[in-house]
């Protein structure tokens, strides 16, 4: 028995793979406690099955869709709560529906600022810098202009920072905060997808067919 294997790792591996305690322990011992390698080890030995689904994170919530009547635009959104109880309330479902409608109308690209790729932000920064200096502004004004441009970009493309379509005095984030207060537990948009016909990236294998 190797002392280095922690009981919580064994439990985590069991939860992920659905294998027994002794097998999970052996797998961790054979792989020096590396969880990812232990998963592969279990599959190699034929103990864990491929495609065994990861244990669900204890998150509750609802999935909501919106499709425009002409079927040219559709939105899928996941709104999370802490409890199943809140997730099932009509108010929560209604909020999910309104967020889906907002996404359809406001076409954000990201849920939160952190989701924007760093290279893209750098690109925006460089563009703004070029524009501001071309106008012959002093350096401290240039900095302000860059910040202003970046904020505009976030307001346009980041869901949580967009003005709420039903009341543009508030951002989506503020609407969520109000809901957090109302429901008494944390509420978050986990992810969304927004499909519009003809806007998906063109795939090379499709290119010759259309």
């Amino acid at each position: 028995m190797t002392a280095a294997i922690k009981a919580q790792d064994v439990k985590a591996l069991r939860d992920i793979t659905g294998t027994g305690m002794m097998d999970s322990k052996r797998a961790l011992e054979a792989t020096e406690g590396d969880l990812e390698r232990a998963k592969d080890w279990l599959r190699q030995k034929g103990i864990a099955r491929a495609g065994a689904k990861a244990a669900r994170v204890a998150r509750e919530g609802t999935v909501e869709v919106y499709v425009h009547h002409d079927k040219q635009l559709g939105v899928l959104v996941e709104l999370n709560s802490e409890s199943d109880f809140v997730a099932r309330t009509e108010g929560f479902q209604q909020l999910a529906h309104e967020i889906a409608l907002h996404i359809a109308a406001a076409s954000p690209q990201y849920v939160r600022r952190d989701d924007v790729p760093a290279e893209l932000i750098e690109q925006k920064r460089a563009d703004a810098h070029k524009q501001a200096t071309a106008l012959g502004k002093p350096p401290q004004v240039v900095v302000q202009i860059i910040d202003g441009k970046l904020n505009e970009f976030f307001k346009r493309e980041v869901l949580l920072e967009q003005p709420w379509t039903k009341d543009d005095k508030r951002t989506v984030n503020e609407v969520l905060h109000e809901a957090v207060n109302g429901f008494g537990e944390n509420i978050a948009v986990a992810r969304f997808a927004r499909f519009k016909i003809g806007q998906s990236p063109v795939d090379e294998s499709d290119a010759g067919n259309s």
């Binding site: 491929a50 635009l73 559709g74 563009d127 970009f153 499909f195 998906s200």
Partner: protein
């Protein structure tokens, strides 16, 4: 009244056509007058006009490129408990086919299939190389533990990779309602029936709590 003279409505440069202005607006998201001024300032050169607008800060950086070449519909499926949802774009060549009932039915069937069969990728090419390498390493280790000769191992690995595709790749999956056919074959049948190319361009499948 002299026959010559209806003045141009906005008194602008006649060389700039309304189509050019419209195209520039769509490409940049700038307003009509700004687009017109940009084209006038650049003698109607489309690319230069785009740069002009960006320099003046009038083009919206995030203006979505408008691709209207492909027709189709968006289909959705939500499980009654709202714990699972699917969004799907099914494309056709013409608007006419996209409005066809059979086409709509096909889109719905595929959305339901995605809900049930949990594909992770649309096509084989969408599986990241790292994922494939890892699967392959596991299959090779499994096969070599059974002490098979090398050529047999390669066959076993290929077989297992095919199983992997059948499990994870939408087009390779057996259709949930009739597992004699793959989803790809289902599409091919629809192509033959409806007489034009039909493709799935993307899908999303959300289950509550599964977001990374």
């Amino acid at each position: 009244m002299p026959a010559t003279a209806s003045p141009t409505p906005e008194g602008g440069d006649k060389r700039i056509s309304a189509e050019q202005v419209k195209a520039l607006r769509e490409a940049t998201g700038a307003g009509m007058m700004d687009s017109k001024r940009a084209l006038e300032a650049t003698n109607g050169d489309f690319e230069k006009a785009k740069d002009w607008l960006r320099l003046k800060g009038m083009a919206k950086a995030g203006a979505k490129s408008t691709r209207t070449a492909r027709e189709g519909i968006i289909a959705t499926y939500v499980h009654h408990n709202h714990q699972l949802g699917v969004l799907l774009e099914l494309n056709s060549e013409s608007d006419f086919v996209a409005r066809n009932e059979e086409f709509k039915h096909l889109a719905h069937e595929i959305a339901v299939h995605i809900a049930a069969a949990e594909p992770r990728y649309l096509r084989r090419e969408d599986v990241p190389q790292g994922v494939l390498d890892r699967e392959r390493a596991i299959f090779e280790a499994q096969a070599s533990e059974q002490k098979k000769p090398a050529n047999v191992i390669e066959k076993i690995v290929q077989g297992k990779l095919n199983d992997f595709y059948k499990r994870e790749v939408l087009l390779d999956q057996p259709f949930a309602k009739d597992d004699k056919r793959t989803v790809d074959q289902l599409l091919k049948e629809a192509i033959a029936k409806l007489g034009e190319n039909i493709t799935i361009s993307r899908f999303a499948r959300f289950k509550v709590g599964e977001a990374s």
